[in-house]
Symmetry: C2
């Protein structure tokens, strides 16, 4: 008797006029409807939202971060708690980022070498070494459904030479990750299986991206991410790089664009054929008082909202818009009350998740191209 | 056809062995079951909790603060929003404190005189004058169900002379409050009626408290508060003062002990015959990482909880205890995540509200005295 594999990407529909596609990514914690936006829960919490809030928002998958959770509370503690799902009491899928981005951006005096990366903790200056093998051990301890390979996320700008050498090293790291992942998967008989995704690098150089994607595709991983974008390059360079990468990734696997983005970025990237996204924008901007609405972005601290007794977004059925006015939300921000951070975050995450659901529906209905045009015409500034 | 008055205090049960009593305080926004704890929502929000959370917690009445809301967003803005209930979308009863405590504790260079108090805003140093009449105008603008008279809250310690002069002035202020309150009540035909409560002062001097209570009782107000306690005096002095005050207040009116307190204070004060309480302790202590449990106080940041995968309180059915472990909550505090503040606040408010419900049930069942003894024996340290 054969069981269906725990991970399986099922393509439901492909748009005839764009690269957009709708799918179902089956995981041990249930299926994920793609295209999907994954709220970022760096430290085992999506900032200001409880897990009950995330269920109410119908978030289907959230992110955790290997670097942050390794430092606090420690992946071994999380493993003893029964893994990240049990530790934070979230029973739907989780994806953990490998920490590649953080050891470069947050670590002090990090030293990159073939073995891995030596870095100092941003918290207490203590020294640590992340190797591909070590990161796999951390991510297995955390026990997310999807785990990311350890990569070097090159900065922008970046010389072709550096980008090439780094990308080649990231490929060698991916092979080491896969080997250690296989060993750990065989040891952990009683644990749920985990899917290792590879990360395409190569800065904005099409040939490097093609090489990276092709080599990773040869590893036959269950999914692929495009990393190293949204790090300061022009928007057009990001989409050119995506276009240069996707033809080299298998269409039957989910494709994840890391760290992107604003609503119009998501709409354009779905049209290009990407399936998965994560970004701190909805939650971070909310905490800065910026909310996304069907009529564009709103700065809550703006004095024009002081006596505006209408909701953030007349067209939004979320808990925040159903219950509170702009005037009240502005008051909460003016008085530094955390309820303001919560209500704005709740709305923004709702907005992003609904945007993805709307796109998926349009793809399945065969109407994505006109939907995309209409969105970019009316809401392009968001 | 006569309607029942909007405000009416109905005594349901009195304990035969203590002064404890259970009642129903009818208000225009529904009845309040006493004894009651009122969560503090100083700036039109109970810190870290949404109004939906407060409904889930079954909070029956919350507090707002005239001083803070006068400064931000302004009582006139709140009035234009339709009053505090509409502004914050809370459809159950609200009580507003008069700001007497805040103009003395937060204001800079305040100057107290018969007319009222001149003070500087703690926010921007701007000058303001609070007279009894002005405070009534503010509280009518806010539109709470219960509004507090403007009083001077004397510090501790305080000479008998100062306490006497201040208490006599507070009595004259109470009469001025009542007069302005009556005028404003007649003007506001279409608004819901508001109940003005008087505040007994007199520091820890029994004769002054008796004089204050007797004189206020003569005004036949719908309820009375005991103010000027829990300001640093010994615990025994607080309860002696309560004992010296209550015989001079009418038994048919609700009695409110302002700014108290810890669970054992509430249990003792209910036994003394008090009906209403407010305090920042459950929410403020929660934000400092201290939670109240059936086995005493717990400091969440303590390292002993790092790997404690049990709930805060095994006996507590609240959302926090039903879903999260001490280890997870400690992690949230260690990483300064606001979800920790929210979950701890939710639990503490639940604990305080349940404590009051348990007392009310024991009073109605005629079993308050043994309940109180058992509580003080087992949970006295809380």
């Amino acid at each position: 008797m054969e069981r269906a594999p725990a991970f399986r990407f099922e393509l439901i529909a492909t748009d005839p006029h764009t690269g957009a596609r709708a799918g179902l990514l089956h995981t041990p914690h249930g299926p994920i409807e793609t295209p999907i936006f994954m709220p970022v829960g760096t430290q085992a919490t999506v900032k200001t939202l409880s897990q009950q809030d995330l269920y109410r928002l119908d978030a289907q998958i959230i992110l955790g971060n290997a670097y942050h959770l390794y430092l606090r509370p420690g992946h071994e503690l999380v493993e003893r708690a029964g893994g990240l799902h049990a530790f934070m009491n979230w029973q739907r899928p989780i994806l953990t980022d490998s920490g590649g981005f953080q050891v470069f951006s947050l670590g002090q005096l990090n030293k990159i070498q073939e073995e891995g990366v030596r870095f100092q903790s941003h918290l207490d200056g203590s020294y640590h070494l992340f190797t591909p093998e070590k990161v796999m051990e951390i991510e297995h301890g955390l026990g997310a459904d999807i785990i990311m390979a350890f990569d070097e996320c090159t900065p922008y700008p970046c010389t072709p030479e550096y980008a090439r050498d780094s990308m080649e090293m990231t490929l060698r790291w991916a092979a080491r990750c896969l080997e250690r992942h296989r060993e750990l998967s065989q040891q952990g008989d009683e644990r749920l299986p985990q899917a290792l995704f590879g990360i395409v690098q190569g800065s904005i150089y099409p040939a490097l991206r093609a090489r990276s994607a092709t080599a990773l595709a040869a590893l036959d991983l269950p999914g692929y991410a495009i990393g190293g974008l949204a790090v300061g390059e022009p928007r057009s360079a990001m989409f050119d790089t995506i276009a240069a990468t996707l033809p080299h990734l298998p269409t039957a696997k989910p494709r994840y664009l890391m760290g992107v983005g604003y609503p119009r970025d998501l709409v354009e990237a779905v049209g290009a054929g990407l399936d998965m996204f994560d970004c701190v924008i909805p939650t971070r901007n909310a905490r800065n008082g910026t909310v996304f609405t069907s009529r564009g972005r709103v700065r809550l601290k703006n004095a024009t909202h002081a006596e505006d007794f209408s909701p953030l977004d007349e067209n939004c059925p979320c808990n925040t818009c159903a219950n509170y006015t702009r005037a009240y939300l502005r008051h909460l921000f003016q008085t530094n009350e955390t309820l303001g951070l919560h209500l704005a975050s709740y709305h923004n995450v709702f907005f992003f998740l609904k945007l993805m659901r709307d796109m998926r529906q349009a793809i399945i209905a065969g109407k994505f191209a006109p939907w995309q045009r209409a969105f970019l015409d009316t809401c392009g500034e968001t």
